[in-house]
Subunit: 684 residues, 2 copies
């Protein structure tokens, strides 16, 4: 229908172009070309989602000149919109501005439905919006006695005709609100529609006229110890509030297996744990809504990632089977539920809940979220992704193949089971350096950027004090002790005489290294004990053995890249981690931190239908390796007990660090037997 | 793979035939030929659903001779089954008996999935089983650490592989029971699966091994006055228990419009009415289960039919809009819900609820159920179906076209608003005859087959007494009064002098006719008053005017067949109804009673996927006629006030009955104005 002399329109950044009859609205042209230009009101000039910026002047690349007359002048609708709600200079409403000459149209990111969001994490990957729940304004036909279809059926028909969304369904609570809202809106309503491409689209809520109160979603990473959540704008993708609370199930057991045991030993114990975690999630939803200043009933999407035991307990399934071989999940696929199915009331009444798939009985939806965020299946180089927590999830792979396992590291990396250990909070030692000559330490605590040998340190930390050592602090302390020759390869701390430092003090039949002694002023003695070293050795051996098992399965001796994920992973110093032998040898600049990758994966699933489909397909292709039954796990575990390792050479590490060849005992300590006992206990 | 000399098998009653290699089990042969032979256990010899009867001897029609060696001998599985649970003589288990020679196999009705059930109603149509929820026994693969899919995913895969049911889903309550049941059953479980062809199949429940506790469903006809329900076996289709209770909403208003008004006048009134009707439904479910001696949690399917106001109130939707033009339904399509969505707990936790579609704002799911049961759309002759109740639903049509409307008859036909009126219960006068010469009545009461002039009548009715007149009794009384010349065509009762009967007694400025006077012995005086006549006239005029409006729309002056439906409709004497002019003139032998057609339609939908699809398609094709706005309704209403009618000739009636040409007043009475007022009140 367009003539060769019709104006040429070029949309940026897509570069899509076409000729349109003079008078065609920019929004219409964009739709016909498949340009990603948002609109909620369908071109009625009320939602302002279709804002565009015309570019004027010469565009030799596109072969056109754009004159000031390329778009129609401002009309009454645009004038009214601008005077009432404001419009950035140079912007026009795409539904009102008509094409009158050759023009180049820039679609700013906030006018794109499928906009890209740069993630905060160190990796520079972007997240693409592909909304699962969207807002539409529809004009519904009024009821007619001669054609007596229900109001809902006419709404569904209008949604299909005006927006191409077919087969709408609704729950009874929404149906019960339909009639007054349609009439209040004069048969023009905004509808929030969930459509994830699996099953029929669902009407989640509706409002008279244009709803400008927003649509929100919450991505939750339900961990054994903490529950972290982000409340996000479902349109912009922006994180509006973040919060974390302790998992109240801790009182039933610190680690997963003790919670499974609690359920086995106490009839109804699983239901108790389900009730407390659901109550905590519900409170967290209210907290986040309060923080963001939005109404909780505008939360329409929720995504949950967690390990398999948390997964089952949150869903109300007894995790009994996860405590014993063959570690059978009740269900492993992704779940599409309602938040009400979990008794969560602090969301919209019809809000949807998406639970990522589990990879295996020990490798949960949290690992799937890490896989979604870090995409080892799209990596050209062989990448090892380690999500460090009470239970470590480990992924190894590249475009060809991805392997996954989990390994029970225990809570040592989180500061538990360490004599002076504490959670990461102001006052906790987080960085440690030990002078290799003087063997004197200096450190930094959370809350100050100063080292402890800075004259201003005492004043800067007066408020918080120096209270203990957090996870990253203990890793650095142990690694620095090893580099300073205070600790031998077997993990034995030397005496003051043998290792040459007065800071090594006797402690029963072993020795401790004093990091900070404030006893004279009524403060604490913060030292690293032989028991602390053993706890770290057990944890890191489990981690390394898991990674090594995946490398065996992959048939490789080294990896090309390491990603440390998890809230804690982001704070680990790669060099120190490698001195400990937590992770396989690798060039240091190839060790990256991904922050809370599970939380990032949860947010991706919150904002994207495609991400959901992608992770479900990916999980099916991941090869699961069960550490509990792998004959070689025990051998890898024993060899990994040494610092950094009994047999693996760590050439990249030795290129940058020289580890003193000291030895303080007759043997390598009893950690082999210890580890064996510990693992048997934890696995049931 | 079969050779020409392989044995020939003929299945009856289908007549399907084929050759099979010797040793083929009968069940296998039936499946390959598409013969309808049930099996729940999939050929394991445990469910006994596949019982067949081999026929021996010569079958010239099929060209074969069946020798005694045509089937393999009894094997251990059959022997054990027979000794343990018994087997009718001549029966074999189709999964165990193998074909060894030419054979004729009879499949008895109880071994057919899609068996036909003869309905109790007068019409001889049959109901075909096409189960929505079925039981399957499946063998599930055990979990394997090297292929760590969830137990549910392996169950779903087994169901697809073994029964061809793909894409199973389950709710959290069922998922939470999955693991212990699978293990208890040694990985063999019975599953109840709902699959109505709309959306994914749903796992409703599961049991270890073979479940032989049955699957049940309930069909409910939720009326303004009574709630009637049948509890049925979902396999055999048998009705195991029936029950009826009063609709507790009556305390908020006798008729629909007064309940709508209650909701308008009292904030939260609609929620009150929703709560009481849901509680009543829940109690009724428990009662039925108790009556049938089954556990309520084995109820997996429920079907609900009701008028639009009951529909909205049961679903928790304020029926406000149904009280005013244009009578917009919140939703009109069929609804697929869970019983839990209505707060009904006396069913299986995942039990499904199907609500039939509404035809229009005044023509509900109950009318749809009548259309399903009576199928006017499949009728060769033009049939008028009238469901008589507080609100009458009227259908008119044939294969070419079906019309529907409703008409507010009020509760007079149910004995309300009648001076001596009462519900149909023992002691109520249900049949009346008046001698045209002596003008003396005789009658029968519910609970006895004797007429009141029988010498044994007094003794037979001593227990119940003679307490009042029910709906069918008042219809006969008024019609008999008209035939005996005690009542003129305008509906005026004559005086004793004018009509020649001492039973006509003065009653204010009008007269009453004494049916029964027991005042001498302390009993009641049961008479028909002028007010009773007016109430019946209003009711029957509304009914007739509705039917006439449909006839206008259809362009006809007469109908070929009339079906009186409804629990009450079954008791109406066609002749008396026609004398009153309740229904259009029609040969008497063409007036049939369909009993509770709405309840029958509900049962059809309970047992059949095809019936659900059929009524949804039919409803879309029905043309709705809105009586409230039809200009001619008022004219038809006024003309129908006369007995039988002011203008329509009723030739078929006059062929069998001579109506005395009497007249007792100056005009036709004030019913015109009355009716107008009454209708305006009820509709607006």
């Amino acid at each position: 229908m367009t003539a060769p002399k019709d104006p040429l329109v070029v949309f940026l950044p897509s570069g899509k172009r076409g000729r349109f009859a003079p008078g065609t609205p920019v929004l219409t042209a964009a739709r016909q070309l498949g340009v990603d230009l948002d609109s909620v009101c369908g071109g009625r000039g009320i939602c302002s989602r279709c804002q565009i910026t015309p570019a004027f002047g010469d565009f030799p690349k596109h072969g056109i000149h754009v004159g000031t007359e390329a778009l129609s002048g401002w009309n009454a609708v645009e004038d009214r919109y601008k005077s009432k709600r404001g419009l950035i200079d140079g912007r026009r409403l795409g539904c009102q501005a008509q094409i009158t000459g050759d023009v180049v149209i820039d679609v700013p990111p906030e006018s794109q439905v499928h906009r890209q969001i740069v993630r905060k994490a160190a990796s520079d990957r972007v997240m693409k919006m592909d909304p699962v729940t969207r807002l539409y304004v529809v004009e519904v036909e009024e009821p007619d006695m001669h054609e007596p279809t229900g109001d809902f059926e006419r709404l569904a028909r209008a949604l299909q005709a005006q927006w191409g969304v077919a087969g709408l369904t609704a729950s009874l609570p929404v149906l019960s609100r339909l009639q007054p809202v349609l009439r209040k809106g004069g048969w023009q309503v905004s509808v929030a529609v969930h459509d994830d491409g699996h099953g029929a689209p669902v009407l989640l809520d509706l409002w008279p006229g244009l709803h400008d109160g927003g649509l929100y979603g919450v991505a939750v990473d339900l961990g054994s110890t903490t529950i972290a959540a982000h409340l996000c704008d479902l349109v912009s993708g922006a994180v509006l509030a973040s919060g974390g609370i302790m998992n109240p199930q801790i009182r039933f057991g610190e680690d997963l297996m003790s919670r499974v045991s609690y359920g086995m030993m106490n009839p109804g114990g699983d239901r108790e744990m389900t009730a407390v975690v659901r109550a905590a999630l519900n409170d967290l939803l209210a907290d986040l809504a309060g923080q963001a200043g939005i109404e909780a009933r505008l939360i329409f999407e929720m995504v949950l990632v967690c390990n398999p035991v948390m997964h089952h307990l949150a869903l109300g399934i007894d995790p009994l089977e996860l405590g014993q071989a063959p570690f059978a999940l009740a269900t492993s696929d992704a779940l599409r539920l309602s938040t009400r199915d979990l008794g969560l009331t602090n969301t919209g009444a019809s809000a949807r809940l998406y639970v990522l798939p589990c990879i295996a009985g020990h490798v949960g939806a949290d690992a799937a979220a890490v896989a979604l965020a870090e995409a080892p299946d799209r990596s050209d180089d062989l990448v090892l992704v380690v999500d460090v927590g009470t239970n470590a999830e480990i992924l190894l792979g590249n475009r060809d193949r991805v392997l996954a396992c989990s390994s029970p590291t225990g809570p040592a990396f989180e500061g538990a089971q360490i004599s002076a250990g504490q959670r990461a909070a102001p006052g906790a030692i987080e960085r440690v350096e030990i002078d290799p000559i003087t063997k004197v330490p200096r450190f930094r605590v959370i809350g100050s950027d100063l080292w402890s040998d800075d004259p201003a340190f005492a004043e800067a930390t007066a408020a918080s004090g120096i209270t203990g050592i957090c996870g990253s602090g203990i890793i650095e302390a142990v690694a620095e002790m090893r580099m300073a020759g205070l600790l031998d390869a077997s993990g034995l701390i030397g005496s003051a005489e043998a290792a040459g430092s007065g800071r090594l003090i006797p402690d029963g039949r072993t020795h401790s290294y004093v990091l900070h002694d404030a006893r004279a002023t009524g403060g604490p003695l913060i030292s690293v004990t032989q028991g602390d070293i053993r706890a770290i050795q057990l944890a890191k051996s489990a981690l390394y053995a898991g990674a090594r098992l995946l490398m065996d399965e992959m048939g490789v001796d080294q990896v090309e890249r390491v990603v440390l994920a998890g809230a804690f992973g982001a704070h680990i110093s790669p060099k120190h981690a490698m001195v400990l032998g937590m992770i396989p040898d690798c060039p240091l600049d190839k060790v990256q931190s991904a922050g809370n990758a599970a939380g990032t994966g949860a947010r991706m699933a919150l904002h994207s239908r495609a991400a959901r489909d992608e992770i479900e397909a990916t999980v099916r292709k991941i090869t699961k390796v069960e550490t509990a039954i792998a004959p070689k796990f025990q051998e890898h575990f024993v060899n990994a007990n040494a610092l950094p390792h009994a047999t693996d050479p760590f050439p990249e590490l030795r290129r940058i660090v020289t580890l003193p060849d000291v030895g303080f005992g007759a043997g390598g300590g009893g950690s082999d037997g210890d580890g064996g006992r510990r693992r048997r206990r934890r696995r049931g």
